[in-house]
């Protein structure tokens, strides 16, 4: 059994199937890209792997333990301590400053305000946005917001980082900066990364790539639509 993965994971939204039996393995320290056209189930796979969502059938495991059967509280603890999550946009709390947003996970873990702020500032500095510490998300550009969000995802030094189209809302150069930081920091910390994207250029940052199509893994990477006829 590998570090993180699924066995025949199935998940539907009402009558619409999103995952139809996906088996995927992620090695420790690896950067894995999950690609595929929109609606192929890649975000759902990420949510299931991160314990944000339960699978309807199949298994999800992490470090030798099944997480699909553990309670919401247990999975929330796991997400808080072992995982970091980065979404496309809109994850920062609008009313909090950049530093407070980044410090939030540490405060949740019981850190003191002062310590949490110091750590948050250090992370903002590593991402080149230290000067934005006291700004609110609404006052930043999309790229700056994503870098703050990345700092928040990494501040607890998680073992796994889940990134769902992290550059989907950014222009090419801003996206490149975010991805550059993400890959560099992941390598430095030996963080495992699951990177969901529809863009081959983003997937190029990964060590390995798996492609989903219509809720199943597509070994050719080209899509089963071709086999259809």
């Amino acid at each position: 059994m590998s570090f993180l993965g699924t066995r025949a994971a199935v998940r539907s939204y009402g009558p619409t199937p999103a995952l139809r039996g996906v088996t995927v393995d992620v090695a420790e320290g690896e950067i894995l890209a999950v690609t595929g056209p929109s609606g192929c189930g890649k975000s759902t796979l990420l949510h299931c792997l991160a314990g944000i969502m339960r699978v309807d059938a199949g298994e999800v495991f992490y470090r030798g333990r099944r997480i699909d059967t553990s309670s919401e509280g247990e999975r929330a603890r796991l997400r808080r301590t072992e995982f970091g999550v980065l979404f496309q946009f809109g994850q920062l709390v609008a009313e909090l400053t950049a530093a407070e947003n980044v410090a939030l996970p540490l405060l949740l873990a019981g850190a003191r305000r002062r310590e949490a702020r110091t750590a948050a500032l250090a992370w903002l500095d590593r991402l080149g946005v230290a000067d934005l510490a006291d700004q609110h998300p609404g006052e930043m550009s999309g790229g700056q917001q994503q870098r703050c969000a990345l700092a928040r995802a990494l501040v607890t030094e998680p073992r796994v980082l889940f990134a769902d189209e992290p550059t989907g809302a950014l222009d090419t150069l801003a996206g490149e900066q975010v991805l550059g930081h993400l890959v560099r920091l992941a390598r430095e910390q030996r963080t495992t990364v699951v990177l969901v994207t529809h863009d081959a250029r983003v997937a190029g940052y990964a060590d390995r790539e798996v492609t989903l199509r219509d809720g199943v893994l597509d070994p050719t990477g080209l899509g089963i639509a071709a086999v259809r006829r």
Binding site: Y13, S38, S43, H47, A50, I52, M53, G73, A76, R77, L78, R79, R80, T81, F83, G84, V85, F87, Q88, G90, Q91, L92, V93, A94, E95, L96, E100, L104, P105, L107, L108, R112, R113, H136, G138, E139, R152, A153, D164, E165, G168
Partner: protein, 497 residues
Amino acid sequence: MLLRLALAGSRTDTVRVVLTGLSAALATLAILAALTVLAIPTVLDGGSNVSPQYRNPLIAEAGLRVGVAATLVLLTIPVLVLAGQCARLGAPARDRRLAAYRMAGAGPRQAVAIAATEAALASGLGALAGLGLHLVGRQLLGTPGADGKLALPTDVLPPVWQLAVVVAGVPVLAGLIAMLLLRRVVLTPYGVVRRVRTRPPRPWAGLLILGGLGTAALLPPLAQYLDRSGRSMPYELFGLVVLVAELAVTLGVIVGTGWISHVTGRLLHRFARRPAGLLAARRLTADPWTGSRTLAALLAAVLFGAFAAGLRIRMSTEFAAEAEYARRSAEVSGLPYEPWDTTFYQGAYDLVYLALTIALVIAAGGLLVALAESIVSRRRAMAALVATGVPRAVLGRALAWQTLTPAVAGIVLAAGTGITLQRGLYDREVSSGWGTVCREASPTDCVELPAVVRTVPLPLDDLAGFVGVALAVVLSLLLVNLLLLRTSTAVEELRAT
């Protein structure tokens, strides 16, 4: 063109239009009723100022009519505030729609004008409906009862110009309120409001409250002065001053709640150790007006409740003093003591209390909508927080802090201001009687019986009642919203757009 655009919209928009119309109709009815009561010609009936055609002494006695009219007009304030709140109902969807107009080339002013037109139009229809109801009700209730007396002043109608002013004024007012509320809405094509730091509230609220209370405090000395020079205070002046003072303090309390929100937010931010406190603190300082805006109608109702409670306990004390005097004089004269029946007057206040309770319930509706809206508008960020492992309990506690802080502060402030205003306007001492009472048996044996003087106590029970009901309303709404929070933070909210 504006009209066509203003009428286009979704189901939420329909609900908002209907609610706006309804509250406008209610406000119109209340104002018309007040005007009607004021329009009753005063018949000098042997100096007793009683219009004999009415069964209800509250209306029959000219001296009481001003009070009735004032109460009716004051009741329109929470209703109007609710009408204003309705303009915010379904705001995110409407903002997107307005943004689409902007994308199509409408300027920001035009977009706001469209929204204001919608509110004005809806309340125009509401005002007309209110007028219609009033006129129909007049006819239906206009038949004298078995005793040949009228239950309500259905035989008089305010002058036509007054009717016109009301029917035209209510929609104009509603449109202005809508414009005021939309002033800060920044429109983008995606309906995303980019928050920038708002200026911290200035302590205007204190000035308004103090101004209102000060105006009220001027009245008793003025009345005394007029008394000494042998004149009496005109009812119109008294009513006007009461109205102005009430409006000032109500506005002050509403604005003051924003200020309190901001200050408590700052304090909480300084001292909060846990994330829930931090989140709530930042939300309170980021937009202190949300709390006061949503609570506006509720606070107005509590304020008037406290005012009414003050009046009521004053009246009860007066009755008690009179009863005491009557008892003493009966003792002296040897005539049997007959207690006075005051149930009618108590009943009048029960009616006022009922009206205020209804106002509280109406306010609760607005509050529910506004709270739900605040959750829905930030559901994405909250779902993201839950995804990163923030326990929902933390978000719930933040919501509780954020709701209860302004609510508790505002309710206590409203109750305190209301009772202070009442006790400023009226003497805190009542006296009854004062005269010579002669024994029934020997009419020459007369005794000087001093007046019974009583101090009006604070109506602590009634105040606690209003504060308690208001808090219970807020708490139950908070519970509903905590349930809503669960569904709003479902992971489905995160699905890529």
